[in-house]
């Protein structure tokens, strides 16, 4: 395995840990934190591929900066939604938000 493969393997493992967190936890803040782990994993893959490819211009590194910016935006909006839900229902547990249940 080449060094790039090892970096991608790290990204894969971090991504699946984040995916597990998103699926397994009920606390919505923790779901957002796990989402951040997944975004970090994608960023590691972007930077690693950009740095190891012979002909790359560095666009992968640049796009990881875009991902970081969008992650910051996502966190602010997500947490604002969590807080306004908390005001209404006094809980952050995802399975208590069951207003739409038929």
């Amino acid at each position: 395995m080449s060094p790039l493969d090892w970096w991608l393997l790290l990204a894969v493992l971090l991504f699946s840990i984040g995916a597990f967190g998103v699926l397994a936890r009920r606390n919505t803040i923790l779901v957002i934190m796990s989402l951040e782990l997944m975004l970090n994993a994608v960023n590691i893959a972007l930077v690693a591929i950009s740095q190891f490819r012979a002909g790359s211009t560095g666009a992968g590194v640049l796009f990881s900066l875009f991902v970081i910016t969008l992650a910051a935006a996502e966190v602010t909006v997500g947490l604002a939604i969590v807080i306004s839900n908390y005001r209404a229902k006094r809980t952050v547990q995802a399975d208590r938000f069951d207003e739409m249940k038929g």
Binding site: L10, G18, I32, M33, N40, A59, L62, L65, A72, T91
Partner: protein, 170 residues
């Protein structure tokens, strides 16, 4: 050691750090412990960028993730403190489904990574400097850059409107 090579020792240390902290985020029962573990994980990821010779991304990772996002998340935890979250791993129904799915994602992606041949792979990482990145950002990718700033503005307004609440409208 020359600057651009792959350092197996540092790689193993950094990846072990990142993965252990990430597992801590997912597995800790108290959400504050998870948040602290997440901060440590972000620091580890910044170290990974530094190891990949992407200093700018490492610095921005520390500024944005360790500095800003962690503080926002800790504030949200403080504002929504709930007593006695009943979380037991492998005793709640969701984990039973989530664990195989997580393992499946890991296995499928690992097979993909190891079987794919990415062309022109050099053994040495290159050093993309701030100069080169800013040339790219303000020439070829200036439209995405403006778009991202628009998204940030929209997110800021959205967060203020959402978090202000119903009763405080004037």
């Amino acid at each position: 050691m020359p600057g651009g090579d792959f350092h197996p020792f540092f790689f193993v240390v950094i990846s072990a750090w990142i993965l252990v902290c990430a597992l801590g985020v997912v597995l800790f029962r108290k959400i504050v412990y998870s948040a602290v573990s997440m901060v440590a994980c972000f620091l580890g990821v910044a170290g990974a960028y530094a190891l990949l010779n992407a200093e700018l991304v490492a610095i921005i990772q520390i500024l944005v993730y360790v500095g800003a996002i962690s503080v926002v998340i800790l504030f949200a935890i403080m504002l929504t403190e709930v007593q006695g979250e009943d979380y037991r791993l492998f005793f709640n129904r969701q984990s039973v489904f989530a664990a195989p799915l997580g393992v499946a994602v890991a296995v499928i992606l690992t097979v993909l990574v190891t079987s794919s041949q990415i062309a022109d792979v050099g053994e040495v990482t290159r050093n993309v400097g701030v100069h080169q990145l800013s040339q790219l950002l303000f020439n070829r990718y200036v439209f995405p850059f403006e778009l991202v700033s628009l998204v940030l503005l929209a997110a800021m307004i959205g967060a203020i409107v959402l978090a202000r609440g119903e009763g405080e409208k004037r």
